[in-house]
Symmetry: C2
Subunit: 343 residues, 2 copies
C-alpha cells in the first residue's frame, strides 16, 4: 500500500495524507483521525529516508554501541532509549563489533539521520582532535573517557567511572583482608585503554601499601575473552607464585578464572580469592557469587544523556562526570590465610 492508495481510500489528496502523518496543524481533527485509522489498518510505512532528506534538522539522537556481546551495555541501552524518548527525542541505535570504528560509524549515522548528538557506549580511549573533526554534532563518551588522546575537555562530554581508582579500590580491599601476594589478570598493561588504566590502579594500590610489584604476578591475556582468561589463570598457576588473591578486569574474566582455579583443585575463596570490576547480573549466579565493584550502569546512561542534551540544547559547557562504583560483596573473596570466609 502506498501513500497514493491511502489518499484514494480516504478521498483526500496525497499532501493531506502527508500532513496528517507528520502531525502538521493544517488538517482538521476529523480528517486526521480518518487518515490515521486507514494508515494503522493498512500498516502503511512512511518513507523515512525521503522525509529525512528534506528535513534540515531532526530530533534524533544516535547511540553507537561498540561490542555486541557485552551484557553490561544491553541494560544501559534500554534505559537510554527510555530517557531519550522521555525528553522528546527519537533514538537511533547502531551496534558495531568491538573491533570496528565507532567514530566513523557515528559520522555516517550523523549524515544519514541528521543527528543532533551522539552517545558512544564503549569506544577507544585515545581520540585525537584531528580524527574527531569528522563529527559535526556534540558527542558524549559513556562508560569510558578520553585518557590518552589530545581532545580538549570542551570538545566532548564524558560519563564513566575512574578506572584507575576503581582498580585501586578493588586491590586495596584485598589488602585490607590481609592479602599480599595479589595477582592481576589483565588484557594488556599498555593498551592505551581500560586495561592499562586498571593495571595502573593495581600497581598504585600495591605501592600505597608498601607491597613490592612482582611482574610474575601479572598475566596479560591479550583480550577480555573468557577462554583467554581461563588459560591465563592456568599460566598463573603454573608460575607457582604463591598468590592468595586475583584481581581481574571484568566479571566475565573473573567467572572464567574461578572455573579455571576450581578445575585445577584450587578452591575459591578458601585457597584463592577473586575480585573483579563490572557487576553484571550474571555474576550474581556464579558459584561462589562474585565479589565485584559494580559500575552504576543505569546512572551512567542517565547522566550520559543529560550531559549530551545539555550540549545539544546549548546549556553551558561540556561536562565530565566521574561516578563511583560500589563494592558488591559476594562469596569469592575471603580474609587471607587463617581468616574467616566472608559469606
Amino acid at each position: 500500500m502506498t501513500i497514493k492508495d491511502i489518499a484514494k481510500q480516504c478521498g483526500v489528496s496525497v499532501s493531506t495524507v502527508s500532513r496528517a502523518i507528520n502531525g502538521r496543524p493544517d488538517v482538521s481533527d476529523e480528517v486526521r483521525q480518518k487518515i490515521l485509522a486507514v494508515v494503522e489498518e493498512s500498516r502503511f510505512i512512511p518513507n523515512y529516508t525521503a522525509r529525512e532528506l528534506v528535513r534540515t534538522r531532526s530530533d534524533t539522537i544516535g547511540v553507537v554501541v561498540r561490542g555486541t556481546s557485552n551484557l553490561f551495555f544491553a541494560d544501559i541501552v534500554r534505559l537510554v532509549a527510555h530517557v531519550i524518548e522521555g525528553s522528546g527525542y527519537r533514538m537511533i541505535l547502531r551496534q558495531i563489533g568491538s573491533g570496528e570504528d565507532e567514530v566513523k560509524s557515528g559520522a555516517i549515522l550523523e549524515r544519514e539521520k541528521k543527528l543532533r548528538g551522539i552517545l558512544f557506549l564503549g569506544g577507544r580511549f585515545d581520540y585525537t582532535r584531528r580524527e574527531m573533526e569528522i563529527l559535526n554534532v556534540p558527542f558524549v563518551c559513556c562508560t569510558y573517557t578520553n585518557c590518552f588522546g589530545d581532545l580538549r575537555e570542551g570538545d566532548f562530554g564524558s560519563v564513566s567511572i575512574d578506572d584507575e581508582a576503581a582498580a585501586f579500590q578493588a586491590v586495596e580491599y584485598l589488602i585490607s583482608l590481609g592479602h599480599r601476594r595479589i595477582a592481576a589478570l589483565v588484557a594488556a598493561c599498555n593498551d592505551r585503554s581500560i586495561s592499562e588504566l586498571r593495571c595502573q590502579g593495581y600497581r598504585a594500590a600495591l605501592a600505597e601499601h608498601g607491597i613490592p610489584f612482582d611482574p610474575a604476578l601479572v598475566v596479560e591475556t591479550g583480550s577480555f575473552g573468557m577462554a583467554e582468561a581461563y588459560r591465563g589463570t592456568e599460566e598463573l598457576l603454573r608460575r607457582e607464585t604463591g598468590c592468595t588473591a586475583i584481581f581481574t578486569l571484568s566479571d566475565m574474566m573473573a567467572i572464567a578464572a574461578i572455573k579455571s582455579l576450581t578445575d585445577h583443585g584450587c578452591r575459591v575463596p578458601e585457597d584463592c580469592s577473586v575480585i573483579a570490576i563490572d557487576g553484571i547480573p550474571m555474576s550474581n549466579y556464579t558459584i561462589p557469587t562474585l565479589t565485584t565493584l559494580e559500575q552504576p550502569g543505569q546512572e551512567m546512561g542517565r547522566e550520559g544523556i543529560r550531559v549530551l542534551l545539555d550540549m545539544v540544547e546549548g546549556r553551558g559547557e561540556a561536562q565530565h562526570i566521574r561516578l563511583k562504583p560500589t563494592l558488591r560483596l559476594g562469596g569469592s573473596v575471603r580474609r587471607a590465610s587463617s581468616g574467616e570466609p566472608r559469606s
Copy 2:
C-alpha cells in the same frame, strides 16, 4: 569537508568526485586514485541517504535481531555479517528489544534502505499472512519458525532446530539415566512460542516412556529471566516433589536454577541433575559445567543467509531447514540415585 571542497582540492568537477567514489568506470585510474587519497585523508563521509534515495535497488540485506541481551545471537551476527559481505552484499543490522515488533522494524528498514531481503534473528512464532503483507521482500526466520500462524510454506524461509524434538531429546536423555521424577522449568506452557513447543517435547518424552505427567513438576516462571528462574526453582523445592532432575528452557535459566539449588543445599548433580537447551559459551564456565543441547548457531546463521539469498536471487522455492542440536556433556547431569557422576 564537503564534496565541493574535495573537487576543488583535486581540480576536478563535483560529478567526477561522485563518479570516483561510486566506483563508476568513466574516471581514469590516475584521477580516481588522486580523489580517493583526498577522500581518505579528509575522512569525508558520503551522504548515503541521498545516494540510497536515488538508487532503485540496493545490494543491502537487513538483519533484525530481537533481544539485545541474548548472547547466543551475538555470535551468529558476527558470522552472518561475514557471509553477507562474502556474497557481495552489504549488511544493515537493527537490534530491537525482546518486547518490540520485529516485523514493523523490518518493514521500516526495508523502506529506508531499499532492502533486498531480511533475516530475522529471533521473533514470534505466530505470524499471520495478513500482517506479513507489510514486507515486500523475501524474509527468513532464523533460529525460530512459524509454528502457530497461518503463513504458507512458500511465503517465507526458515532455519531452526525442531524445538519440540530438542526438548524430547533432552528429557529422554535424563530418562535413559534412570530419572523418573523430572521437573520442567519453563516460561509458560501456552505462549504460542518456544516455551510451549519445548513443553510439548517434555510431555511427549514422558508419554513415550510411560511416565505419567504430574503438573506439580512443572513451574511456569513467566519469562526467560534469571531472577525468575531462580525463584521458580525455589518454588519447585517448596513443592517437595521428589524430583531428581530438572529440564530448563535455556542455559541462562539453567545457570540460575543451579545457583538456586546450591544456595538451598541441594547439590548439582548429586541431589538433582540439570539439563538445558542452547549451548552458549558461558555455560562452559559454570560450576558444574552445564550439560546442554547445543544449538548449531553458526550453521543456522550460514544456512539462513543461503536460504535468503536463494530467494532474493530467484533460485527455487522457499526452504525450511531443521537442524539438529548436539548433546554437550558437562557435569550437571548424572545417573539417578545410585549411579555414578558423569564427569
